[in-house]
């Protein structure tokens, strides 16, 4: 009997989960490996051959379609794919491996393709070396065909699974959101990474920053304690019983009738409390909570697709669904913000140099496509458009110019849309925090993204594990910055909503209210808790507290002071 082991990491998404580990090898795909009975190798080989045949049919169909298209040359790449599918270096070696080593087809494919990738990497010719994408594409298609009978890209998981991998891209988590995923554990990443944010919005407990995952194999029973930041491997019976109880309690957070009443502090001051969502589907559950408004809909998760560019019609339909589900509550649609750790389906990452609005201005086709879709949905509810990661007035003016151009074009083509749709700026760079008064005359509203703001003010690498140590909203630099933004915007008369993680931490939210902010937006999971928290706070006392901590010097003592005051 194996001993229970505790592996410590960093909390990334709260809650607890019990499941069996599934090691992720390809970041874009889930495949699991196991030994099979020697007698079953014949069956496994024919399962593999079936998947090859299925790939061939899919590719031939694709080839025929492309040949009949306006650009028949576009079918050439399929020729290479079809030939790889017949290549003995690939196919025969996989079959040999299944037979000789009695392993499942997925495992054999991973092993053989891994050797071939190495051969590609050894080539001196840049062009040839890059052709490994052909093989990668085939492998992906093959693994997909092996794991599912339908054409859906979502794999079926054999049990309640805890995903375990070096890193798990947000796009993968996104694909798996409706499967039996119970939680996730990764080696890299931080609580600030997009993967962690997605995990939180899906209510999936997550622990990141585990130094060594080699002790965890597929099939091991795991408990993920996302609230405390550790993983228990092969738990003993007493631990399991304790955690089963915790999981049960967790499931009882359903919408309450009091959710529909306005949110006020103990001393009767009205606070606007909204929610952040990441996916179109979440609009239903936000509506069930009687949400006043959606302070932030991070549209990038619904924007990119595994199999290429999104279509304007699809996006318009999605955005319309969100607005209709939540009507009359206003919804703030933040245009696509790709961060350094974001990986879209086509593998394009983004560096800090081109985040948010910078990315949009460099990829204007995508930006215009999204704006057209947004505007075409705008008259179905209360849409607001929010521009992320704005750092200069010039960028802002360029974006406003593009929006005007798109509107003109839609008018010319007789599309219906809300001509007065408010446009806002996300304050999340120190540059925007310092110059928000200059931006105020150009836009209708502001949102304050505290996650990024704190990160850039305090110089923290988002993917670094030490982030958790240095990241604090209680730093005097942050308090001064927040105070400055509040004061600058007071004069401008433009409304501001705080929608970072800071608004979802009771102590940090108390500081925000004390500083004068009256509109907060938090994740769906944190919403009920924050309503209760705000109901128990006395705003008069918080104002005094804010005055006091503005004079204090150490982040640690400020945090202690705030936590002891609110109890």
């Amino acid at each position: 009997m194996t001993e229970e082991r505790i592996i410590r990491g960093v909390m990334a998404s709260s809650g607890v989960a019990i499941g069996r580990a599934i090691r992720i090898f390809d970041p874009l795909l889930i495949s699991y490996n196991f030994h099979i009975e020697s007698a079953d190798t014949v069956k496994e080989v024919s399962r593999f051959r079936d998947s090859v045949e299925k790939c061939r049919k899919q590719l031939e169909r694709m080839q025929a379609e492309l040949r009949g298209s306006s650009i028949p040359e576009s079918s050439y790449f399929v020729d290479a794919h079809l030939l790889i599918l017949k290549d003995k270096l690939f196919v025969d070696r996989i079959i040999d491996k299944i037979q000789a080593e009695a392993v499942n087809a997925e495992w054999a494919i991973q092993q053989v393709s891994g050797e071939l990738y190495e051969a590609y990497d050894r080539l001196h010719d840049d062009y040839l070396r890059e052709r490994r994408i052909d093989l990668e594409d085939i492998v992906r298609r093959m693994l997909h065909n092996l794991r599912s009978k339908s054409s859906s890209t979502v794999p079926s998981l054999p049990y309640d699974a805890v995903l375990v991998g070096k890193s798990i891209p947000p796009s993968t988590l996104f694909e798996l959101r409706s499967t039996r995923v119970a939680g996730l554990v990764t080696e890299t990443g931080s609580p600030l990474s997009h993967t962690a944010i997605v995990a939180r919005s899906l209510g999936l407990p997550a622990v990141v920053g585990i130094h060594d995952l080699s002790g965890i194999s597929s099939g091991d029973q795991l408990i993920v304690n996302g609230t405390r930041g550790f993983v228990i491997c092969d738990p003993d019976r007493a631990t399991l019983t304790e955690y089963r109880q915790k999981v049960k309690q967790q499931r009882s957070t359903v919408p309450r009738s009091s959710d529909h009443e306005p949110c006020t502090t103990q001393d009767g001051v009205r606070i606007s409390l909204g929610a952040n969502i990441n996916f179109c589907e979440e609009s239903q559950s936000a509506a069930a909570h009687g949400m006043e408004f959606i302070g932030l809909y991070r549209t990038e998760f619904d924007f990119f697709k595994e199999d290429g560019k999104p279509s304007e019609e699809e996006l318009t339909a999605k955005y319309t669904r969100v607005l209709e589900a939540l009507r009359p509550a206003p919804v703030t649609f933040r245009t696509v913000d790709v961060g350094p750790d974001w990986k879209s389906g086509d593998g394009t990452g983004s560096s800090l140099a081109s985040r948010g609005l910078r990315f949009s201005l460099e990829n204007q086709d995508l930006f215009k496509l999204q704006l057209r879709s947004l505007l075409r949905a705008s008259h179905h509810g209360g849409m607001r458009i929010l521009l992320p990661f704005v750092s200069t007035i010039d960028d802002l003016d360029a974006a406003i110019g593009i929006i005007a151009g798109v509107k003109k074009d839609l008018t010319r083509h007789h599309h219906k849309f809300d001509r007065e749709v408010p446009v806002g700026v996300m304050i999340e760079t120190p540059a925007a925090a310092q110059t928000c008064d200059l931006m105020a005359s150009r836009v209708d509203f502001f949102c304050l993204g505290t996650n990024d703001l704190i990160q850039y003010y305090l110089v923290i690498d988002r993917s670094d594990q030490s982030a958790a140590l240095h990241y604090t909203p209680f730093h005097p630099a942050i308090l001064r910055c927040l105070h400055q933004v509040y004061t600058l915007l007071q004069y401008s008369g433009r409304p501001v909503t705080v929608c970072g993680e800071m608004a979802a931490d009771p102590a940090a939210a108390a500081v925000l209210l004390g500083l004068g902010f009256t509109s907060l937006s938090v994740s769906l999971a944190a919403y009920p808790r924050m309503r209760d928290t705000i109901g128990g706070l006395n705003l008069g006392k918080l104002r005094e507290l804010a005055g006091e901590i503005m004079k204090m010097e150490s982040p640690k003592s400020i945090e202690d002071r705030v936590r002891s005051t609110i109890g």
């Binding site: 270096l89 051969a119 040839l128």
Partner: protein, 87 residues
Amino acid sequence: MTEREVVVGHRLGLHARAAARVVQLASQFQSSITLFRNDHGKELEADARSILSILFLAAAHGSTLIVRADGSDETDAASSICEYLRG
């Protein structure tokens, strides 16, 4: 067995499309067809029916290859492949 020497005439060498064409040509013959390239004293070989092995041969424009065909139609096979490789 027939062996012929040929200099690759394709501007980009044996890249994906040219490699694919070689495989398609080779598949029309009964004979087994092997390509050899001498890379600074190292002898590399590729099966003309395997696109991956042809790619890994990394034959650039102007490189010399030996085409070896073995089978009932070896003469036709070797000339046909050589003719294509010359570009």
